[in-house]
């Protein structure tokens, strides 16, 4: 008896429902296709073109010349090393500065959070170039900071802040900080305050409950923020170019140099491809790490 009812209900209106489902799928494809076409035109075609360019030698024949050069010449290795070093230090500094800031934001009463978040986001609304040159004004040999410090007597001779690694890091950290603070704040925001109360109730002093409960639960934010900052740093051009003063050469600057001096699209493309592959490798590694972490901490 029940079997009868089931088989009947399986056929009832099934054709109409199938057509409705198909129509829904087609509508979805129709609606998303403009965006997909855009992405294809703007991203995949140029990247593919770059990729193919990188396998062309200066005379236009197919070769691995551009990649061989990268292995042969020590200068390339130094550039990649510098890029990763600067990105790494920027990320570490961003964590060190961003974590307390995000913690402060997460502990604020709700009504003040907006105001303070605004101060974090405000730099986003001014031009990158303006901010970078502003740092140059502050940091250079006879800049505001050196002049003031010497006037007050903090130090005697001007300290070299600009046109070296110091300046590059200061500028980059300043510009990257919001990308660290926002994911950190989001992660801290999600932490249930009751768990911190529970830790205290179970005998943990404020430091112990911070270290054993709050920090582990905020790690997902640290990983996400670090990833964004690190990847953005790898391809960063304007700030290191201006504040590094030619002393700090990163991959992006090397690409410009090759294009400007030698007009060698193949070599420049090869550098771009290697950087892209390195970035992808880091992203894949990090997503593994993130998934691992989400398994460990039970977050999805």
């Amino acid at each position: 008896m029940t079997k009868n009812v089931q088989s009947q209900s399986a056929n009832l209106n099934s054709d109409l429902l199938y057509v409705a489902r198909r129509r829904e799928q087609l509508t979805l494809i129709g609606l998303t296709s403009p965006a997909l076409i855009c992405i294809f035109l703007v991203i995949f075609i140029p990247v593919g073109w770059l990729f193919s360019l990188s396998f062309l030698s200066t005379d236009g024949s197919l070769s691995l010349e551009n990649y061989q050069k990268m292995i042969e010449y020590k200068s390339y290795a130094r550039v990649f090393q510098a890029t990763f070093k600067v990105s790494f230090f920027t990320t570490i500094l961003c964590i060190l500065i961003g974590y307390p800031l995000a913690y402060f934001l997460s502990q604020l009463p709700k009504k003040y959070v907006g105001l303070f978040l605004l101060t974090v986001l405000l730099p986003f609304w001014t031009s990158l170039l303006v901010r970078t040159y502003a740092w140059l004004v502050l940091l250079q040999r006879k800049g505001l900071i050196n002049n003031f410090a010497i006037e007050v007597g903090l130090w005697d001779a001007p300290i070299k802040f600009a046109h070296n690694l110091n300046g590059t890091l200061i500028g980059m950290v300043h510009i990257m900080l919001p990308f660290m603070v926002l994911p950190l704040y989001a992660a801290m925001q999600r932490i249930d305050r009751q768990t911190i109360h529970a830790a205290a109730n179970l005998g943990a002093n404020p430091f112990q409950s911070f270290w054993n409960v709050f920090v582990p639960l905020s790690l997902s934010g640290v990983v996400a923020g670090s990833l964004i900052v690190f990847v953005l740093c790898l391809g960063f051009y304007v700030t290191p170019a201006v504040l590094g003063g030619g002393k700090v050469i990163l991959v992006s600057m090397q690409i410009t140099a090759i294009l400007e001096d030698q007009f060698n699209w193949g070599a420049a493309s090869a550098l771009g491809v290697v950087l892209l592959v390195a970035t992808l490798a880091i992203l894949i590694l990090a997503s593994r790490l993130l998934r691992l972490e989400s398994v460990m901490f039970g977050r999805h």
């Binding site: 109360h197 529970a198 179970l202 005998g203 943990a204």
Partner: protein, 371 residues
Amino acid sequence: MKNQNENQEVDGKTSLPISITDLTKTYGKVFALNSVSIEVEAGEFLTLLGPSGSGKTTLLMAIAGFNRPDSGSIVFGKKEMILMPPHKRDVGMVFQNYALFPHMSVFENVAFPLKIRQVALHDRKMRVAEALDTVQLSDFANRRIDQLSGGQRQRVALARAFVFRPRILLMDEPLSALDKKLREQMQIELKQLHRQLGVTTVYVTHDQREALTMSDRIAVINDGKITQLGTPKQIYNAPSNSFVADFIGESSVIPLEMGDSDKLFFQKQEVARIEKNQSHRLWSLVIRPERLTPISANKKHSKNFIIFKGKITELVFQGETALAIVQVSQNYSLSMRYNTKAAGTMEELAIGQLVSMSLDKNDVIIIPRES
């Protein structure tokens, strides 16, 4: 039993009394706690019962040390706790949403208070195993928290709260997130656990049935004050004011007329006597629905019963019992709960029918009426 013996070995005491005096806490101009005083005896299971916003959770959080009262005193045993930070109070607590650590396994969660207290690893493992055994979660030690059901999380939170042998246990609506069946099962388990551990327990709930089931004593809280304190039977059978009468169990409240002397009447029947020279003149009668019995109209009845007559306006079948709303006067109706099986012996009740109901004079509850 095993647990209890070990507990006593610690330093001879398994539980501490709590003495709260004149505790006041305001939020702006609102009194969350208005000069609350209460003595919780050692080993007692006391429930703070009240509607949301009554101040019951504020009181519990003050005992745990999570909010700072404006004035008053909280003493555990003989020690003043009012300025003690929460991590030094040494009380176990089960939070409303359990507040388990999502980045730790079940074992690590339960071991946390022991780790903080620097209990040696060997002892730690033994005591966690024992605690998990008590809450029947031995096989789940290595599970992650998100792999547990609501009931299992509840048990982990419980094990974590008593594994370090606190002498006071606090619970903030620990069963409110569970479904009805599991909740009733856990109520009995909590009760058994309390008997086994012998620890002073303060339990917060808004569920009056839960409070009646589990408590040694109940403190009914409303508007930041304790309106009545007593055993479940006292609270249920002798509510001292209309709030308690209304909040605990179902009840009908009808006004009584004052006779010439000290007698109170409803429709010319004497319902109760009050003490002579009582200054309060206005009284109401509280009737629990299950204390009313349907009787056939012509039947003779003894002087010990009060008879109400009225018309049935609503009938609700609820399984083993049924509820009838009976209009007994222009403005007042009574609820009557009767056994469906027993009612079968007389003619079936129906909406619109006239019915007589009897109330034993021993079951009469009178409360003072304002205005």
